[in-house]
Symmetry: C2
Subunit: 246 residues, 2 copies
């Protein structure tokens, strides 16, 4: 049995999310199906992060165990051929130790949230970013973001469906940068609560629009109450960027 | 009657190209339909460049004449609402002089061609770039490109359907840059022949793959013969970037 680390990219639009679902397509089911078609083996694919419906991945780390002896080249090319036409691609494959685990060995997760700050509807980037028409004040957003960095109880920014044991997380990075009409919000932590990045992004948008003062981010955090949330950003603009391992 | 300059962005995938066609959707027909729905006026939309099926536009200049008196804001928002769900967006509108013409006043056209130089199939960028698996030698491509810059007879790089009076054009810029896995080819000229950018790109890919020497670009140019063309690149990676006016 060989444990394989796969680095996957996907377009989240057609999927119910990473996790296998009875009621619709998932990235996990696509990967497990392709692995089965290639090897005849029923595998369980484990990912560093379980992304929601519509959320994209630029480089998600996943692992599967295979008894079949294949080369790295053959596994990558074979899975990619069998994953079609699903918009999932295997960027890289690597043999890892048997005790390496895509989820439990992961010590850092990086997300990117793309906002298209423009009046016109999206065409080429439809489904790939959150369009916000009015001009966003990036300086205010950056100030608002600063209140969230560090170790906090993120109950306000947590989905009611979150299964994490504790709402206390350490947010290492929450940056806001403008590149022309695009605003990039980058979030980095050992782990996140369910909907945390989208919830933080939604509130930062409220700050950028001037509906919230930057300090309202601190107040929302301190409320430790989901009802204090300003807005949950849509999945379209969210990208899982990288899983970090020791 | 007011002449309006419209700056349009579109995803070329669902269209037969800019020009109105009997046998399928076109960007021109979408724009003319939206203008009719908004004003009741039958207009003809003129574009700086008539792009092919599948070719995208980041900022195409177009003009239409309208008798109806509207504000810039109302025209842009109205057209954008009526263009949905077609992936065409009006980025900006501007009143121009009656003798200003999107096509005939244009003194420069800029195109971008995106190559995704990677083994894995495209997911998020599917239809938005030309994927080439083997590593491309950008230095060799740049050298090959240098032979095409200047005033030449571009017959080799011209579609048999090209309606231009002369195959002689002046190519001002043909640059090749790598950004990680992406290769960006930028072409700039007063005007281009039909399929010229895709034909030049296809041959540059041959050079990048090592199937052609850089000097083979010069030989292909000097042959002045369509049969000397190495390869015509697919439309997916081509973007009309900008139309330049005095």
């Amino acid at each position: 049995m060989t444990r394989w680390k796969l680095i996957l990219e996907w377009d989240g639009a057609p999927f119910m999310g990473w996790q296998r679902q009875d009621h619709g397509p998932s990235v996990q089911a696509s990967v497990e199906r392709a692995a089965f078609q290639m090897t005849g083996e029923t595998v369980t694919a484990h990912a560093a992060g379980r992304t929601d419906a519509g959320v994209h991945a630029l480089a998600m780390a996943v692992h599967i165990d295979l008894a079949k002896d294949v080369t790295e080249h053959r596994l990558r090319e074979g899975l990619n051929a069998l994953l079609r036409p699903d918009p999932v691609a295997v960027l890289r494959v690597e043999r890892v130790a048997d005790d390496w685990h895509a989820r439990f060995s992961c010590i850092g997760r990086r997300y990117l949230y793309r906002i298209a700050n423009r009046r016109a509807p999206l065409t080429l980037e439809a489904g790939k970013a959150w369009r916000i028409g009015p001009h966003l004040d990036v300086g205010a957003m950056r100030e608002g973001a600063s209140y969230l960095v560090g170790r906090h109880d993120f109950t306000t920014f947590r989905s009611v469906h979150c299964q994490s044991d504790s709402p206390v997380k350490t947010l290492d990075v929450l940056s806001v940068e403008r590149e022309d009409e695009e605003i990039h919000i980058r979030a980095e932590a050992r782990s996140f609560l369910h909907h945390q990045v989208r919830s933080m992004t939604g509130c930062l948008a409220m700050v950028g629009l001037g509906r919230w003062e930057p300090e309202d981010m601190r107040k929302a955090l301190e409320a430790k109450d989901r009802a204090a949330l300003g807005l949950n950003a849509p999945p379209d603009g969210l990208y899982f960027v990288e899983a970090v391992y020791p």
